[in-house]
Symmetry: C2
Subunit: 106 residues, 2 copies
DNA sequence: TGGCTCCTTGGCCTAATGGCCAAACGAATA
DNA sequence: TATTCGTTTGGCCATTAGGCCAAGGAGCCA
């Protein structure tokens, strides 16, 4: 792997890494239903506002979500909905793991 | 989010997180072409064998790859090929980001 | 058995991550 | 202008992650 290839993989990994956190996964799934402001998400998750704000900025920095300030509040929305496809594949992994487990304990 | 929901998101996030590393991304893509043994991957990546071995065990632990010992060597192969779908979505994110960037610098 | 090769594990260090609190900041409102 | 509300940022701390090196198996083959 040369430096160029490595850089390409790093750019990709950064995006996937942004999805690799339970809270951010929840946020993405919630934003798929429609835009939400920070405190709405904060309430749903049950963490500190600052924590949620940081999670949102991670997602924003890699380009998965976008924000829009309206009056007092900031509304976040999903910019690239195809990340939702991750979920179905993740379920396949979990299922295949369950099957494997069943085989071992048979 | 209650404890049950949180656990579900954590299980999902663990799988995605396993994909969120440049070297592991490379490994997965390489395994998509066919099984590889550890030193083959080590050579391609250009890191320490122990490093590659650890990356492989991360992928194995979440159930993305499987290993098979044959004689002296251990062959790894892709267990759940749908993770390759991640790549196309990641490219969309990168493209949408590039477009966004072009708009801003116009 | 002894030595070789291939791989994994443990140890250690450094860097990055995630959480909360407190402080700052911008917009609306009094 | 002062205050309040919604959000972001900085600081701090604890935990995790990722890298290499060294040591420890597990198979082969002499």
């Amino acid at each position: 792997m040369d430096a160029k290839a490595r850089a390409r993989y790093e750019a990709r990994a950064a995006i996937i890494k942004a999805m690799g956190h339970p809270t951010r996964l929840f946020i993405v799934e919630e934003l798929a239903r429609g835009e939400r402001c920070v405190w709405e998400l904060t309430e749903m998750v049950g963490a500190d506002v600052s924590t949620i704000s940081k999670h949102l900025s991670v997602l924003k920095n890699v380009g998965i979500v976008q924000d829009e300030k309206r009056g007092n509040q900031v509304f976040y929305s999903l910019l690239v909905p195809c990340v939702l496809n991750f979920f179905s594949c993740v379920e396949s992994v979990l299922q295949s793991r369950a099957k494997e487990h069943a085989k071992l304990t048979k």
